[in-house]
Symmetry: C2
Subunit: 500 residues, 2 copies
């Protein structure tokens, strides 16, 4: 394919995507295909000869699009949003065009430095304490990771390395192999499944502590868990606090957890994957009170900040801890400042290779401006509140807990089964997509304003479909347990909220 | 930004990239900026108001491009190639436009199924044993990981989980916490730094066994290491064989290592990150003789197969082992077949989220066809052999070891210092970029044909610059050690070949 064909193919793809986005309301949010539909359609072998680009776009339209769940449909209210914007797509084109691998400064100076710049920009926009920023005088800094899952695991591995080094320094007679199995990580039972997985991957016991009735992990609970474990000879090492739990978007009180962790030399990581974006709006910053006690913090710019996956923004207060844990050279860093000011980012992450992801973030921040990003967040929260009002206006429903950010949890009065039936029927009809959660042991439907395209009219439409289905479900006397399809077969359990 | 602006902005970006690629020879391969150049240029804060897209492209041209190391310049001969092609860029546009997250089948059926299809296509093209393929009757299958680093770590974690489960089943009185520190991984001292890092991240001892004079890890060496460790109460668990070592592109004999691993229940992972691509050409398949003994295999389609980073193709013989290790639900899988035929890929990888990466691979395979991909590989190998011939025609040089794939290692006669000086001067002049390696304790320059644009004339040009610099270096009597700039300051040590 030569440059002229690329120009044609590229333009056609841009047009196709623009048309797709602008007409996304014409499609059902969920696809109507059976498992294996594509395996049956496509050839068993790669083509031997080159094919025409027009055929690829034709097959994209005819075979791929019918098998897509439209995450950016205004009727997609499941999980949390994943980012997309025209600006981000173009930023990716620029990044893909250069196709550099930024594992060290010389591998492409701009790749490293634009990452430093944009992580500083975002950290400041969110009002993070200065010590997390690369532009501070200390060893802190920001880095782009692939996902919050990865950031949680990175934090765990660094905490493990740091704790073992500290204990061996305090007592050189200790055996590293005996220490490691004693380390313990803590989070709440409201955490994302990826947090639990980090414990598994990083070989560290992970305690899922009971959150309070509002879904928050409280200081006393954490303190007691530390004490119990220490009494058994175990060593508290790592705590993952949630700012915005997966299920109900609850915020753990960092001001309670932080001092306890600091006192006991325990690494405190903040998983603010979705809700961290709200801190660009000053009116929400009270929800991260105590952030100054934390060691690391992650927010997915690829969730609510209009940036395409993957772009997890992670900050650490002391990047030296990270470099010590990840640098296989075990070089002695005489000058920590140099390392954190112009970082060799390969020592800040698990893999060696890395793309020039800062370009898409830079493009998004400039095309929207801080004001544009704030407006996006505020608009989506307003739309969620509007939805909550609609639900509350119908006395068959209960909204519970209070809406948080762009999430509204609600249920039908009566047993859990009727709400289950409602969700299951809606999913089957493919017009509105929500997933389930639990709150205070009750089954709830989670309605998240996800798509950047969502308008008040779209919320009205989703609500009208929900009401319509509710009429059917409520009129249908037969909603016995036996007849309700297992929703878990459609949406795996760990992607919904975990039971408390 | 509305759809019409996106069409304009997108087209302008496409044109910019086409112009960049077509005129890449006008630029020095290495940039002429000082550390911190961009930090000084860009604003300290994100813009408050939205900006014009034209300003972004202007800044891209004026501030970003000068800080780029041009990995796709035909004078880039460092490391190994990283993939790019027009086809891949357009594939990414399609993927970014849909912006789905494919953690489960329902999250976008096409995302999961196209990955199955393309991994089958590639596995067949490479002549992998059928049991690695999803389309076989067994529990094998392919999955896209982010990098070979990640695949090596995934293999390690699965091997650990599997070994511990087996040992506990054999002897339920054993203690998991006591077993884990006894597990040992093995690879050769020629491995990529990411392999060593996997040991660190996965908390497993990693033995870097001495390769033979040709850079290969031999069966006897491995067997002896197993015996020594077992005599000390340790447990061999995981072996990483290299098909194409980082330094000299040597191929470990799988037919020697494989039977030993199989006999002793040790997981054998193959890191064929770069060189695995050659197996699409049948004439090279003898180099993977014994692959049927392996448990997992990774090749980076984003290296030598014209696909943009990231796309690491990984196959496992038994995906059930993977799901058991990574699924935090610990669900009991009654039907392994269902799980591996239509996989929930989140259980095949470390993070929860994943992009629709199969789209770019599908686009590349169709635009090039199998024949086009083979031609790319063969052409680059021919160009490397042509370069070796040029070097051999100049009796100041020694080519050693024999060129392997598109890599030629060579050195100046005389001590290591003169070759070091040559490399360092070339890097300083920014016209040709190579990095160093070692072979049989001698310092060598590594010349890799990397760019897909490289022609015979480009190789002639690189060679003319190398000769020109050699004239200067050889005439310059002062090449004492003291005056040679430390190349490690420019290219970090672990990115070059490690000393044997």
């Amino acid at each position: 394919m030569n440059a002229d064909e690329f120009r044609e193919f590229g333009r056609a793809a841009i047009d196709l995507i623009a048309d797709y986005v602008e007409n996304i309301r014409d499609r059902d949010v969920l696809p109507s295909v059976e498992p294996g539909y594509l395996l049956k359609t496509l050839p068993d072998n790669a083509p031997e000869e080159p094919e025409e680009w027009k055929d690829i776009l034709k097959d994209f339209d005819q075979s791929i699009l019918p098998g897509i769940t439209h995450w950016h449909s205004p009727q997609f209210h499941a999980f949390y949003p994943t980012g997309v914007s025209y600006a981000s797509i173009v930023g990716s084109i620029l990044s893909d065009g250069l196709a550099v691998i930024g594992f060290s400064w010389i591998a492409s100076p701009a790749c490293t430095e634009l990452e430093v710049v944009t992580m500083n920009w975002l950290g400041k926009l969110m009002g993070l304490p200065e010590e997390f920023l690369n532009c501070s005088s200390g060893p802190g800094g920001g880095v782009i990771q692939g996902s919050a899952s990865e950031a949680t695991l990175v934090g765990l591995l660094v905490a493990k390395d740091k704790t073992v080094r500290r204990l061996l320094k305090e007592n050189p007679d200790l055996d590293e192999d005996e220490l490691k199995p004693k380390l313990v990580a803590y989070t709440s039972d409201q955490c994302n499944s990826s947090v639990e997985k980090a414990g598994r991957l990083g070989s560290m016991k992970m305690r899922l502590l009971k959150a309070d009735a509002d879904g928050k992990l409280r200081g006393d609970t954490l303190k007691n868990a530390f004490e119990e474990d220490k009494a058994q000879g175990l060593i508290p090492c790592y705590v993952i606090a949630n700012l915005g739990t997966t299920g109900t978007c609850a915020f753990d009180p960092l001001y309670e957890l932080g001092p306890i962790c600091n006192e006991q030399n325990v690494w405190l990581h903040v998983d603010a994957a979705y809700a961290g974006a709200v801190f660009i709006c000053p009116e929400y910053r009270h929800l991260m009170r105590g952030v100054e006690f934390c060691d690391s913090f992650v927010v997915n710019a690829h969730k609510w900040m209009l940036v395409n996956f993957d772009l997890s923004a992670m900050w650490v207060k002391n990047a030296y801890d990270m470099v010590r844990a990840f640098d296989v050279q075990r070089i002695y860093l005489d000058d920590v400042k140099t390392e954190t000011k112009i970082p060799d980012y390969r020592h800040w992450q698990m893999p060696l290779g890395r793309r020039f992801r800062a370009l898409k973030f830079w493009t998004v921040m400039r095309i929207y401006g801080a004001e544009g990003l704030r407006k996006h967040i505020r608009t989506q929260i307003e739309l969620a509140l509007y939805f909550a009002k609609l639900v509350r206006s119908d006395d068959r429903f209960i909204v519970e807990p209070e809406p948080s950010m762009a999430l509204v949890c609600f249920r039908l009065k009566g047993g859990d089964n009727i709400t289950k039936k409602l969700l299951s029927n809606l999913t089957e009809k493919k017009k509105v997509f929500m997933v389930a959660g639990t709150h205070r042991d009750r089954y709830v439907a989670r309605f998240v304003v996800c798509s950047r395209l969502t308008t008040k009219e779209d919320v009205d439409y989703s609500w009208s479909r929900i009401k319509e289905e509710t009429d059917l479900v409520c009129n249908d006397k037969i909603h016995a347990k036996a007849q309700i399809p297992a929703l878990e077969q459609i949406v795996p359990r760990e992607l919904c909220e975990k039971s408390k």
